[in-house]
Amino acid sequence: MTDRLKTCLIVDDSKMIRRVASRILRDMSFTPSEAENGRAALNACKTTMPDAILLDWNMPIMDGLSFLKALRKEPGGKDPVVLFCTAERDVIKIAEALDAGADEYVMKPFDSDIIESKFFETGLV
């Protein structure tokens, strides 16, 4: 039997961040996909629920926190491991993200070691 590569949806309004994160995730043997805001991400999840989501906070149309709250109410929406990946470093904001259902939290700027370490925390790698 062949193991399926794990999928990760990158949700960020910055094309540069999506590109960098995609490269890091491919190196970690994930199959990445991209969405540029929370609404597009929610639509993507309704079609196919990914194994993991790398989620920005501040985005137009639908922000990361609103997306996460909506995702967790969807059928199968509690399954994906969600890593908030944002420039927000305020402890209150971090706690808010965790209360909304984030599994881990990455503070920008990040590098491949941090992403790998955080995915390891969640038990996904």
Binding site: R89, D90, V91, I94, A95, L98, E104, Y105, V106, M107, P109, F110, D111, D113, I114, S117, K118, E121
Partner: protein, 312 residues
């Protein structure tokens, strides 16, 4: 030798000897890039125009303080929170519960031997705090020791960069045990109170440190020369109380020289000292001897260099 190094080969050889004698660490030709980058940074910090000027000063004037800074710059290791997680699982799930009935009502002492910038010490303190409810009436004291260095000074302050706190440290632990300080994160006072740090050369007699029930010496054997490994392990064995444990890295073993420890099947890299105390060895050196030893090494090199110059 690699041509990456701007130092004269004789100086590089002297640096290798100094590092080996003072800290037991064997520098190879593959370390030229590390030597160049770390010591160039130190030279700037010390106010020298370049690396060669600093090394010239070190070996011509025999500055003990500078020698210690040079060696400690070369020894600094990248360290992560909860690195080699198997060891922490062993400590939390097996060793602490096994030691709890014996040390209930007392203080259990854990040592991080070669603690670098302190991540292992603080990770252990977090683990002990998490287990405090399950293992009541036992105080856990955690000590970190290492060669005097900038890394050890940072460990004492408990301040870590944005990148350091994101490698191995779960976010829930970060917000519970650390507070923001500008771009960095600082360990909260309640966790700092559970730990202490001591400047100590692992090649010197450790008796002043007392006895410990668990000594963590993980992922470090590879850096020591064969001779230094024997010295370090002999000293380490003096630190472990009868029935206490040594934890090496999960991929490390003591080999045939077991230094009086019994290998444990409960986890890889885990050894226990027999409960009956073995006869004491005679102390060889004290930590004070390090300074004299450093001065002698520099002096010897200066003498040798002067003789070579005279001959030329």
């Amino acid at each position: 030798m690699s041509n990456q190094l701007s130092l004269k080969p004789s100086y590089y050889e002297a640096l290798k000897r100094l590092t080996l004698e003072l800290a037991g660490i064997q520098l190879g030709d593959e370390h030229t890039f590390l030597v160049e980058t770390r010591l160039s940074a130190l030279a700037r910090k010390e106010g020298f125009d370049n690396l060669s000027d600093m090394i010239e000063e070190l070996f011509s004037r025999g500055q003990t303080r500078l020698a210690v800074h040079v060696v400690s710059s070369l020894l600094e290791r990248a360290s992560q929170f909860f690195e080699d997680r198997t060891g922490y699982e062993t400590l939390g799930d097996k060793l602490l519960p096994a030691l709890h009935p014996i040390y209930k009502g007392e203080t259990l002492r854990i040592l991080s031997y070669g603690c670098s910038s302190g991540q292992e010490v603080y990770s252990t303190a977090i683990l002990a705090d998490k287990f405090a409810q399950a293992l009541p009436n036992m105080t856990v004291e955690i000590t970190g020791v290492d060669f005097s260095s900038w890394a050890l000074e940072r460990a004492k302050i408990g301040k870590f960069t944005h990148f350091e706190v994101q490698r191995g440290l779960p976010i829930r632990h970060l917000i519970e045990y650390f507070k923001r300080d500008g771009e960095d994160w600082v360990v909260k006072e309640n966790l700092r109170k559970a730990v202490r740090f001591v400047d100590h050369n692992l090649l010197s007699n450790p008796e002043v440190l007392g006895k410990f029930q668990v000594v963590m010496f993980r992922g470090k054997l590879q850096y020591y020369s064969p001779t230094a490994t024997v010295s370090v392990m002999r000293y380490l064995s003096k630190l472990v109380s009868p029935g206490g444990y040594v934890m090496l890295g999960s991929d490390e073993t003591l080999g045939k020289l077991n230094y009086g420890f019994d290998r444990q099947k409960i986890a890889p890299g885990c050894y226990q000292k027999p409960k009956i105390e073995l006869p004491k060895e005679t102390p060889e050196t004290s930590s004070d001897a390090t300074q004299k030893h450093t001065a002698n090494l520099i002096y010897e090199y200066g003498e040798q260099n002067a003789t070579d110059s005279d001959a030329a």
